[in-house]
């Protein structure tokens, strides 16, 4: 295999990983810090993508569309928190699972009623739609490079927010002992609403940047949500650093598995066997990765602060 292809595949893995990170970031925030299992996270991601598609269609300007969608999704997220989810903090994880699963069903149908069942058009902005040459002989999609950049910025921003600000400490305190945090003067309710809004905004960012690459359609949130969970579990729940490392690991392992496993197998086995086994093994790979990580580190790679 030529080295440039190898390099490109690794880059693909990094990029896919950061794509997952965008989604996992919001999840680990809401789940790791507020201790709330929110399956409807995927639905917010879908709403973000739909809103982006709609607003980009209306305004004709990608970035303006993204901005409007982020604001819109954050508002929807806060509305959800305010009306329904806040009643679930006190409850166990299982009630949260059921309630947010119910939300998935409801949101899917509402989106279907509003936008129809067929996928929606959302393309990368004109200026970023082509490839650019990052190394001599290595072209790479400008839009995917943008995703990498956005992913990194979000990672750093979140890391600072959670670990280096007072609000971050309040959030963690409130999640571990709500009553005591209140007794120390933390206005938990508005704070959690706000945090949920931030989580939803991150979903919208993910939706806006993944939409041009993936199909914008009903149900787009569910399949990728599982991957996002895999990411944060590998990394250690609640740890932004963990989510980033987990996302990169999943991205690279998955991509490398698809790219190199069949090749490797064809060296050692008959082409028939290789072509059968390769894809099956590649599909299993990330789950295997997760199982192995959890076997040796039952709390994930960066057992976070709970």
């Amino acid at each position: 295999m030529p080295p440039s292809l190898f390099l490109e595949q690794i880059l693909n893995g990094v990029q896919f990983g950061l794509m997952l990170f965008l989604l996992a970031a919001g999840l680990t925030l809401v789940f790791g810090i507020m201790d709330m299992i929110n399956l409807a996270h995927g639905s917010l991601y879908m709403i973000g993508a739909y809103l982006t598609a709609t607003f980009v269609g209306l305004t004709g300007v990608f970035w303006l569309g993204v901005l409007l969608a982020v604001v819109g999704t954050a508002l929807i997220g806060m509305l959800l928190e305010f009306s329904i989810l806040r009643q679930l903090y006190k409850r166990d994880h299982l009630s949260q699972v059921l309630a947010t699963f119910a939300l998935i069903l409801i949101i899917n149908e509402v989106v279907r009623i509003i936008w129809g069942s067929q996928p929606l058009l959302l393309s990368a902005p004109e200026g970023l739609s082509g490839p650019i040459e990052i190394l001599p002989g290595l072209n790479y999609s400008a839009f995917r490079l943008t995703i990498i950049a956005v992913g990194l910025v979000v990672a750093v921003g979140l890391f600072l927010l959670v670990n280096n600000t007072r609000v971050g400490m309040w959030l963690r305190a409130g999640a571990s002992n709500r009553e005591m945090a209140q007794a120390m003067g933390v206005p938990i309710k508005p704070l959690f609403t706000l945090l949920f809004g931030v989580g939803a905004a991150l979903c919208a960012i993910a939706g806006a940047f993944l939409g041009p690459i993936l199909a914008v359609q009903v149900g787009m949130g569910e399949s990728i949500l599982i991957l996002a969970f895999v990411v944060i579990v590998i990394g250690g729940i609640g740890s932004i650093k963990g989510a980033l490392v987990g996302a990169l690991l999943v991205g690279i392992v998955d991509t490398a598995g698809r790219a190199f496993l069949p090749l490797l197998l064809s060296q050692v086995a008959s082409p028939e066997v290789a072509s059968n086994l390769g894809p099956a093994l590649a599909s299993i790979l990330i789950y295997l990765l997760m199982a192995v990580v959890l076997f040796f580190k039952p709390q994930g790679l960066f057992p976070a602060r709970t």
């Binding site: 789940f31 299992i37 329904i84 009643q87 679930l88 409850r91 166990d92 994880h93 299982l94 009630s95 699972v97 059921l98 309630a99 699963f101 119910a102 939300l103 998935i104 069903l105 409801i106 899917n108 149908e109 509402v110 279907r112 009623i113 599982i226 969970f229 895999v230 579990v233 729940i237 059968n276 086994l277 894809p279 099956a280 599909s283 299993i284 789950y287 295997l288 997760m290 199982a291 959890l294 076997f295 039952p298 709390q299 994930g300």
Partner: protein, 305 residues
Amino acid sequence: MRYGPILLLLGLLLAFPPIASATGLEFYTGLLTKLMIFALAAGSLNLILGYGGMVSFGHAAYFGVGAYTAAILAREGVSSAWVIWPVALALSGLLAFLIGAVCLRTRGVYFIMITLAFAQMIYFLVVSFKQYGGEDGLRARRPDFGLFELSDTTLYYLTLAVLAAVLYGLYRLVNSRFGRVLQAIRENESRTAAIGYPVYRFQLVAFVIAGVLAGLAGVLMAHYTEYASPNLLAWQQSGHLMMMVILGGVGQFWGGVLGAATLLLVEEILQDLTLYWQLGVGLILLLVVLFAPRGLAGLLRRRAG
């Protein structure tokens, strides 16, 4: 447990098929069979999830392996249920043992996800066997019981008998010494260990029992649909089972049964009424979570008590 309502229900279920076929409602016999199969599967999940606090997100694996074992054995020419059943149960039990042995090292959400991981591996493994249908699934001829022929009606009665027996067994189990320890572990694991219980062993045994029962449900499912599909193994199926248990009432004895019956019936009825039936299901689930914190069984119990 109060036996009056239970015996009444049992009587109604026993009398149902002849009445249904006399009135041209055979369809509902099939529907009830399916409800009972899922009640069995959800009941088994409730044992570990509700009573043991082990939130397994991979329960479909045993369900599916039960069904696939039945289908594959049938495909390979084994027609006797007396072979198929034991093999299927043993396999799902063995699988539960292996998976449980690894997964029980983790806790909480990590446990949820690692059980999911194993179930996904099983899923991809099964669909990679092209000779057994891959993603298309596999037809499973109904087996030979020797004593009776497995028609839709006898399958109904067989399922009913199995469900009743399993539920009675589970009832004894959760009220036995073992059941009490299992619940104590859910309540406070470190203390249970500190007063001298081998926590891991108790959890593993419960995990295997639940796996075997789910495998049993899977075998019945294969007999019922005469088909083993990869969907039985998919994570959505695990999720569906979990929803049933939570809806019915986690750790409430009737939780699994009630949840399975309610969710499937609601889906069935709403699908008849509207194309946007998932909206209805979602709203109902949401209402239950918000207003019946201990699930439907908790609600009923509060009414009765």
